[in-house]
Amino acid sequence: MAATTRTVTDLTSTTKDGVGASPRRPDGTLKVTGEFAYSSDMWMEDMLWGATLRSPHPHAEILGIDITEALKVPGVHAVLTHEDVPGAKRYGLEHQDQPVLAIDKVRYKGEAVAVVAADHPETARRAMERIRVDYRVLEPVSDSRRAALDPDCPLVHEPGVLEEHPEYNQRGNRLRYQPVRTGAFSGVAGSAEREREVLERLRAEADVVVASEYEVGMQDQAFLGPESGMAVPAGDGGVDLYVATQWLHVDQRQIAPALGLPQEKVRLTLAGVGGAFGAREDLSMQIHACLLALRTGKPVKFVYNREESFYGHVHRHPAKMRYEHGARSDGTLLYATAEIIVDGGAYASATPAVVGVASSLGIGPYEVPNVLVDAYGVYTNNPPCGAMRGFGAVQACFAYESQMDRLAEELGMHPVDLRIRNAMSQGSRIITGQEIDMPLPMAEMLRRCRDLPMPPAREELADPADPRTLPGGVAGTTHGEGVVRGVGYGLGLKNLCFSEGFDDYSTARVRLEVVGGEPVVLVHTAAAEVGQGLVTVKGQIARTELGVEKVVIAPSDTQVGSAGSSSASRQSYMTGGAVRTACASVRAEVFALARERGVVPEGLDDTDLSLVGGKLVSATAGALVSLADLLGDSARGGTVVEHTREYHHRPTEMLDPKLGQGSSHTQFGMCVHRAVVDVDVELGLVKVVALDAVQDVGKVMHPQQLEGQIQGGSTQGLGLALMEEVQVRDGEIRNPSFTDYLIPTILDTPPMRIEVLEHPDPHSPYGLRGAGEPPTLSSTPAIVAAVRAATGRPLTHAPVRPEDIVGIEL
């Protein structure tokens, strides 16, 4: 073993690109050369193309399916219906209520009825045209409020639809009903009459009462990489699936039973993911591709086109909400009531969990002594809805922030002052009784946001009539006449990580070895990199924990334990936590090895030791040995140190079904936005001039990627505020394309100044807080508030439509 040297250089050496730095994405080079293999790029010489025949009706009985003519099309290798599903006929994230292929009924327009494998996508399309399906069309259930509250509403799912759960859906179309009652309402819960009496008394006590109905439209995640992947039949009777998803193991858990295979014969590898935002939590083509691959003995590739993608994944739940707030004349909140109805569409997906979030966070981060919330998630024959960034908190946030602005207006208070007056902080309890036992510097964030520099006024611009600075842009629809400026604020509280008793763990395998004289760390997890940059953060953690600069990130697959979902802003926390824990085990073994080999002087304990710059270093005795010398080259019999560890966050509880009480959440995050808009009130056009944010993230892991998350999330909120809505009429999507469903372009998106605070959460790795979702909550109400300020219109529907803001007398 080489002698160890202890120099000043050794002592001050650090490990580059660790936690807190902004190293490049390890997949960045492949992504800019066009070589990164996305799920739609999979290709094999003898592959077939899969295609899906979908229901043209939102609600119909299937009387018969005839595939004879389709099978005769030259180049067609297989046509499958529900009869060809060898195992479980239904699947689902929470309830297994969605047929792999429709059985006796279709419940939404676009539901999969049959699948085809053929030698060319056009051959598959022609074969689908020759499949004859006889339908008896039924009246669709399309009104979510009626589905929630009218006992005479027809049922979307008959009781007993699930063989294993005969009691399933005994509650009409209600998938979940979650009440929350606090203060004076908690003693009278369950009695509608007494609740009304309490409400009347509180109304009488309040100096000001504001009540309104709000709606949030159905938003599409609009990831750019369409649903796609390839299933390859394997020699052992199993199948290998390369797919873009958010959670490999939950896919595996749903696919294997449908195929009638044990889980180990269904192996998944993450293909390149072109964005997710919740839309890949549910299965799309996974089971279909595997069924066709196993039937034909050939690789089968699916790629949805954009129209099919609108039918092929769940959307953000549209919500109908009724809110009432009462306050004293100084702005102190006295009570709040909310009825929140989210439309789950035809199948359950994540609706029960979305209701759990919408109810528990339904009033937001405000101290309110008396609260009554009724949250419903319902079945209808509309397109299924499930996870999207913000997950139930987005809808409620639009309503409660709109209410706060109305209250401020009634009271003649600045909207920021009203919010500070009622702001929660560390130690506060949200309406479920759960204590916020981590920093929540809400008042500070509001003040900082209000104090951010304002963009220049229109008349201060070099050319105030430059159309590029005006609503309508280069279309030149105005030179500034009819244009009014408005400023608005919004904030939102979001739960981070999974809630309500879910054991939300992640697994990491970390290996340290010396290759060619250089220490190298391999990090292997099943976590889905969907663009968020987890792949970078995993490497940073390994560098910081093991003091090794060279880190290799193994492809994500099911050969290692579950990492949980790339959802709920949880991966830096959970998979980051798993990588850190596995690194700690590796490090402990390295320390033990060093002691065994006599490198560590007597009397030094482990707290004195660290791994930095490829060396074992003592805080008191200096550099002790290089890892290269300690471990030796692995190719020549050197030591390989490897550990696999699971990381679990602290347990959470279900909300109780009567009062909605319980510590259901793991962590809370918050973002505050200030929006500045110019509105052309003659044409109903809005230009967002600035969209600035203050967010507390506990600990910045990667400054550049963090800004990208906040700016990207803010922009999705901008889309919901001003343009994005899946238009559904009688169960039919009217705008399933990027021609008709608009997402923000670079012209729609303003400069976004970001101020980041770091108040560490004592419970999380590095004190970090999930960062992806909070900005998506608060940007929508901030922008709508700014448009209200400019127009004086109440604007209770997100997105704001042009017809909502025209015809205003200036």
Binding site: R24, G34, E122, T745
Partner: protein, 169 residues
């Protein structure tokens, strides 16, 4: 049918092309060039942007037959120097996108790179000034990105423009 054209400096031929196929499909599925992306396939998102006889266009909107005898340059042809893929030196625009954090999921990136390359060719590349933000936004208005909110993309384009201006000065 058979379609022959030049892509990234190389003469190529695709056989058995169904006349309904797009140039994008031929590039991705028949020529092993999947870099151009298939996000909307109706000319709205710009992910499939290529140079077509030197002019940027959505390759999903070009019928395969229209490419006969033409010259196409894709994201795979943007890297400088010879060699394959990552062995080549990244082009100025590619380098700037990675450095500035303009790449998240990366699905919009190939189209944005081609469109940005074109903007810089027309401005600093032609001896003009570095484009201002309004010009950059206008040039990239046909390229949708769902991840970034475009701020890091603007950073990347400014960086690339300054570097290209510096190198040609």
């Amino acid at each position: 049918m058979r379609v022959s054209f030049n892509v990234n400096g190389e003469d190529v031929t695709a056989d058995d092309v169904w006349p309904g196929e797009s140039l994008l499909y031929v590039l991705r599925e028949r020529l092993g060039l999947p870099g151009s992306k298939n996000a909307c396939e109706q000319g709205e998102c710009g992910s499939c942007t290529v140079y077509f006889d030197g002019v940027t266009a959505c390759s999903c909107m070009i019928a395969a037959g229209q490419a006969q005898g033409r010259t196409v340059r894709t994201v795979e042809g943007l890297a400088e120097g010879s060699g394959k893929g990552t062995e080549r030196e990244l082009g100025t625009v590619q380098e700037a996108f990675v450095e500035a954090g303009a790449v998240q999921c990366g699905f919009c990136t190939p189209g944005l790179l081609v469109q940005t390359d074109d903007l810089l060719e027309r401005t600093v590349g032609a001896g003009g000034p570095v484009p201002d933000d309004a010009e950059i936004r206008e040039a990239l208005a046909g390229n949708l990105c769902r991840c970034t909110g475009y701020e890091k993309i603007l950073d990347a384009v400014r960086l690339a423009a300054e570097r290209r201006a510096g190198s040609s000065a």
